[in-house]
Symmetry: C2
Subunit: 120 residues, 2 copies
DNA sequence: TCTATCGTTGACATCGATGTCAAGGTCCAG
DNA sequence: CTGGACCTTGACATCGATGTCAACGATAGA
């Protein structure tokens, strides 16, 4: 599919799809006329990228994470340098801390909301 | 305490403590000489702010969230306008989506790491 | 008192994600 | 063949969080 369709399917501006490509997150093929040609699986890919971005991860890290999440699961040994494994390990720790912080605060807000509603 | 000590305790540059103040997240008193004077409880406050920022929330939202999380719990009815309750509700939904996305991807990375380690 | 260290404000720079616009090529429907 | 919709690249702008620097005042220890 072309960039416009992917943009509609993922609610992502074409500008950003090109940006994600420049950051090395997606690699569309090209039609003979130069137009980008996106495979269907890139819909999920882009949604995942948006989710991770929204969750606070920078494209630099997402780029390292994505190859590990490909389905069907292919273990990319070539990519699995010790430094990258370290990066991934410390990144999962950061993600866990984020999850805890988000959960704690979300629960506190929800409790606040429920108290306010009860008193209404 | 003064800004330098708070900076050490929270590992946050003084520049940012002033920035958070300008964004309306903290309100230190002033000494007679103009120096900012931070209460002890602001250590936790700043750590919470950093956690929320790191979790992807903008200061604009954090500013609305913080008053709901004060301990001892004081329900600020004056602040609890319907619009703000709406904001908080939709923000908790966003936080839940973030948590799910982070959890899903973290688990996938951890599984990848465990597989790679097993094969090592 | 001198000096190092810390504090103040304000301006300007940077960085990543995103918006916007210009100039031009492609494609298709009328 | 023409007009509108879509694509290309590239430049420049914006926005929030953060870094850095300048010019200056306050503090504290030798």
């Amino acid at each position: 599919m072309r960039i416009g369709e992917l943009a509609r399917l993922t609610e992502t501006a074409p500008r950003l799809l090109r940006y994600y490509e420049k950051q090395g997150l997606i690699f569309p093929r090209r039609e003979a006329n130069g137009y980008r040609d996106y495979d269907d699986y890139l819909v999920d890919r882009v949604l995942q990228i948006r989710g991770l971005l929204d969750a606070g991860l920078p494209t630099r890290i997402i780029k390292q994470i994505l190859p590990c999440l490909d389905a069907p699961r292919t273990i990319h040994f070539a990519d699995a340098t010790p430094e990258m494994l370290d990066t991934l390990e410390s990144e999962t720790e950061r993600m866990t801390r984020r999850i805890e912080c988000l959960t704690r605060n979300r629960d506190a807000i929800q409790e606040y909301l429920s108290v306010v509603k009860e008193l209404a």
